[in-house]
Amino acid sequence: MTDTATTPVAATPTGKQRKKATSFDPNPAKAGWLTKTVLTVICVLWMVPLLGTFITSFRSLDAVNSSGWWTVFRHPTTMDLTLDNYHKALTGNAHMGRAMINSLAITLPATFIPILIAAFAAYAFTFMEFPGRDVLFLTIVSLLVVPNYVAFVPILKLYRQLGMNGTFPAVWLAHIGFGMSLAIYILRNYMATLPKTIIESAKIDGASHYQTFFRLVLPMSVPALAAFAIFQFLWVWNDLLVALVFIGPGENEPVTVGLTHLKTQLGQGWELTTAGGFLTMIVPIIVFLALQRYFVRGLTAGAVKG
């Protein structure tokens, strides 16, 4: 451990890699035409399915069923695009508008609460001495890879007894439990890089652990907190299985469950599934593009989740 009080941000365990050791050009193998062609082809292949669905979401049912989405480029002047699908998906029987509110109601607490709980635990694991600490932490490390499938049947029964099936807290608590070991792992690894001297001096100044946690450690851990927050946000928003099992179809269903209805119930409604699909994607894509940097750091930090 270094005793110098470096800024914590510079000491991320995961983010920036070592600087290149020397100043000469590390990469004499610059991209040739072959590299550029291969990458262009890959990028186009990656985007074509997305583009196709995006265009389809603006086409009428007749158009979708009678011709491929790429035909819109043949007659660019008479594209005949419509916002109908979005209108129907949001307001009609599909209830995607309601589902989006539900998704937010599930995702926000299921993201913030585990962070708070995990941050307290990570603080104790990093800055407090107590018997059994190492054993308990190793338990968490080993639980990282346990598939959360183990929980479904027992918890389903437990919820049934408590009458909790279909409620928001039922999924919050499940996501809190499933995300907890990864959250503690990421946050503890990050806190271990914070300068111990600052925490020591706070103690000497008479600050309690509670104050040190909220006033020093939590603000200093923002990069790691943000990393996990994005990770968990995307995970919960995009989750289908937990929502299907503990909430199921109905009043409180999130967008992922809503979209499965569009696919099955309204068999004729291809055009609605695309609009509905984009409605489910819009929030995570915005979060992702805006906070990509933190997300990458989160992935590099605690890549393994069971």
Partner: protein, 328 residues
């Protein structure tokens, strides 16, 4: 809608507020204790909510699941190993197991190889082009599997012969007077499973690319330069200098994608629901708890999955200990 929104907002605030209140109370409780005890008990109170949630949602269910796997379909009476023997005797389960094995072998290895290739290639681009192509490849990570399934429907869709094809793959082979092929129903050589794997790879390549790209950039330039001065060609440098130095990340990516692939569910569920010999353990598990209401079989499937992750768990703990020993 307004009522719904505001009641939802209140639920959210109450939930988050309750979590904050919990810690405030726990801390107050600790402070009520006499001096020495306060310091002894406080760490345990700080980790209590975390451990409570892990215990309720992972540890206790694990024990119960192992137990249930030896009970009948509604977990009433013990039936010994019957759930396991029934599973392994059924043709359907063996096919499911084999399919899952295919997923677990193919997806992680392709994800690592392709991810590494893209990471190395993008590293050679100008910074702007690198950032752009990485965002393009990484973007599908933000999309749910059910969203991805919606997207890929327009790739694999098949219309009867003679009608205009709306799936791009059939439209493409139609140019050569071939097809149409109902892709997701073709189980010859597991073609449909492979095509479903493409969807997962489409979503996952970005993940392995980002991790491996960070590792490739972290390889010290002087080791590369030294190899170059010694007359090594680019291929030798890649396999003998770069790859050994990023071995740790390669293993991490392989493990992470493997665990994710073992549990694959959404893609199969929404595309084929396991029909046409595409079933995997995750979907069979879900069918058992939702459609067949056979908790015994479902529990046995989870236990099989858990046994499969034990080696990874063991590696993980060993790796963590080695890292901690190295750090301090």
């Amino acid at each position: 809608m307004l009522v719904k929104s505001s009641s939802t907002l209140i639920t959210v605030l109450v939930g988050i507020g309750a979590a904050l209140l919990l810690f405030w109370i726990l801390n107050k409780l600790a402070e009520l204790l006499p001096g020495r005890w306060e310091h002894r008990v406080k760490p345990y109170l700080y980790i209590l909510p975390a451990f409570a949630s892990i215990t309720v949602y992972l540890i206790y269910p694990t024990i119960l699941t192992v137990n249930n796997s030896f009970k009948d379909n509604l977990s009433r009476n013990y039936v010994g190993f019957r759930n396991y023997t029934t599973l392994f005797h059924s043709q359907e389960f063996r096919e499911t197991l084999f399919n899952t094995l295919l997923w677990v072998i193919i997806v992680p290895s392709v994800a690592v190889v392709l991810g590494l290739a893209v990471a190395v290639l993008t590293d050679r681009l100008s910074p702007g082009a690198e950032k752009f192509s990485k965002t393009v490849l990484f973007l599908p990570m933000a999309i749910s599997m059910i969203g991805a399934a919606t997207i890929w429907r327009f790739v694999y869709a098949a219309e009867p012969k003679g009608q205009p094809q709306i799936g791009i793959l059939n439209a493409f082979i139609g140019i050569f007077n071939w097809g149409p092929i109902a892709w997701l129903q073709k189980s010859t050589f597991h073609l449909n499973s492979l095509l479903l794997m493409v969807i997962l790879l489409w979503a996952q390549i970005g993940f392995s690319m980002v991790l491996l790209s960070a590792a490739v950039k972290g390889v010290p330039a002087d080791t590369l330069e030294a190899a170059r001065i010694d007359g090594a060609n680019e291929r030798q440098i890649f396999f003998r200098v770069t790859v050994p130095q990023i071995k740790g990340t390669l293993i991490t990516v392989l493990i992470t994608v493997t665990i994710g692939t073992m549990k694959v569910f959404d893609i199969v569920y929404v595309n084929t629901n396991g029909d046409f010999n595409t079933n995997v353990l995750g979907n069979l598990f879900y069918n058992n708890i939702s459609t067949f209401l056979n908790y015994g079989a479902a529990s046995a499937i989870v236990v099989i999955l858990m046994i499969a992750v034990i080696p990874i768990m063991w590696y993980q703990v060993r790796h963590f200990r080695a890292e901690e020993a190295g750090a301090s």
